[in-house]
Symmetry: C2
Subunit: 314 residues, 2 copies
């Protein structure tokens, strides 16, 4: 499958580390432990859906076909505005996309990669030929910024990818491989990071367990997609890791024997934007990709969950 267009949106409001001095945390303490200096916060008028519209409106400027040719709409989010009228259905309404499959998926911060794998399945059965994946997280709607353990980690944002079964444009990128795994059975599993809508918001009671497993499984997922194509980490131009913590990313780069400049990071300015973090990062560097450049997206998230996507620019 091929990426035909990609775009992202982050809200305009900045929340700098200084805001969290109320929790007894300093700018340097937060930055050293997480790599975060700033995060973006949706306004009162914004939510998971409106951020998605902003990203899609950006993509429409470069999309090489009318949006109503899309026949598969997948929302990816763990911070939904509505779980019945889901993100995908709001997109279908907003852009009047008739005759499409629509669903919304969560596997925490891995949701975007799971969405890519679902698209792969629909393309394999010929039940869809053009897909829209919209990853959008409204973390600040569910996080408690007075939580000294994880309140300072989260940011808001959205990113959209338009995918086709067959190549459409000269500038398309080919998705060569996608891999996902659930890891509910390892470590603290689904209790490592929680978002219980009826029992508090986002909390991360087991940060160390997340940290250790994220490094292991993001490394493993990267090797998995590369080895299936007889590639090594040195063949890739960019590693696009989930943006949960700069120290996790640096450890993964070290495990892959990759220099820091090959790792794409937006966490310093955006915080952890959940499952939107890797498609936002891909969108940010997309114009730097040249023909035959390989990139790998690698993720680890609550659940636990992991996955990777191998991409080659056409």
């Amino acid at each position: 499958m091929y990426i035909n267009a990609i775009a992202h949106y982050v809200p305009s409001e900045d929340v700098a580390n200084e805001y969290f001095e109320r929790n007894g945390l300093t700018d340097e303490w937060i930055f050293q432990r997480t790599g975060i200096r700033n995060r973006k916060k949706a306004s009162q008028e914004e939510n998971t859906n409106t951020m998605a519209y902003q990203a899609i409106d950006q993509a429409l400027e470069i999309l090489p076909y009318p949006i109503n040719e899309v026949d598969l709409i997948i929302g990816a989010t763990y911070s939904p505005f509505d779980t019945v009228g889901t993100l995908s259905h709001y997109i279908q309404q907003k852009y009047q996309i008739d005759d499409a499959v629509a669903l919304t998926v969560s596997s925490a911060c891995s949701s975007f990669v799971n969405a890519v794998e679902i698209v792969e399945g629909y393309f394999a059965t010929n039940k869809a030929t053009k897909a829209l994946i919209i990853a959008s997280e409204h973390n600040t709607a569910y996080s408690n910024d007075l939580d000294p353990i994880s309140g300072h980690l989260w940011g808001d944002g959205a990113s959209v990818l338009f995918l086709s079964k067959e190549r459409i444009g000269e500038d398309d990128a080919k998705i060569l491989e996608v891999y996902t795994r659930g890891h509910g059975n390892i470590g603290k599993g689904p209790k490592g990071v929680c978002l219980r809508p009826r029992n508090g918001g986002i909390v991360m009671p087991h940060g160390k367990d997340v940290f250790i497993n994220a490094i292991h499984y993001m490394t493993k997922a990267t090797f998995t997609v590369l080895e299936r194509h007889n590639l090594s980490p040195q063949d890739i131009k960019y590693l696009i890791p989930h943006q949960a913590n700069a120290r996790i990313i640096n450890n993964v780069l070290r495990n892959l024997d990759l220099p820091p400049e090959k790792g794409v990071m937006n966490i310093e300015n955006l915080g952890n934007t959940g499952c939107a973090s890797t498609p936002i990062a891909l969108s940010q560097i997309y114009d730097q990709l040249e023909s035959n450049d390989y990139s790998v997206i690698t993720v680890f998230g609550g659940g636990y969950s992991s996955g990777a996507v191998l991409i080659r620019k056409c």
Copy 2:
């Protein structure tokens, strides 16, 4: 793909129509308009996940292989306990299912049928060979029983299906066809039924719009899966419709020219159990299916969304 095992669970606590006299509603008024006399309510100790365990424990008594052979776990719910450590990940932890894909999907009351279609895709790409779909709804955690418009509609429950790519048992049923569509672009779309975790719970501000579209699209989805196999409604033993309202079901049966006894109903005793309603109903009549009997599941849900599954007992 084949159904290898199916089971369901509903909580023990009954909430009869008399409970809703506090909203100015009588037993007869509710029954005439909805077909509901009673619904089941999860206890304080229960939630979306624990009901799922109960259903799975039932299925394990008949499952012809160890549960850890499952390589794809799909949760289906719009009433999640946790959106980060999702239903599928809790199942993976509880039953120690290693090396499996895990994700949770929502397309409202159509989520179960969308999950079946996702399994179809994973089987097509050979990325999975044995799948577990767990549909579980904890409606009473999100509904307001003092809401006179829709508070009396909802019940709790869960159902599990184990599916394999190849036939495993003599008693398997074959899924011949699955079809889904989003309908965010018609009528009130995602505003017809809402569950906004950060802004109230389940509400149904546009019941009439839901009613009309449910009849139309449940009929259409049924014809779609039948026509793809050159079958007519008269060829099926059971129609298993989403249990939102007995009058919707009766209208669909009439549109299909089917007698009432061909429509499976559990709404009188269980209320609307969301996306779990059709797999619960299938589980309830599963032992009555004989070799070569056809059944059709047909659903309509918030979003809007619709879908159907054509099943033939082996």
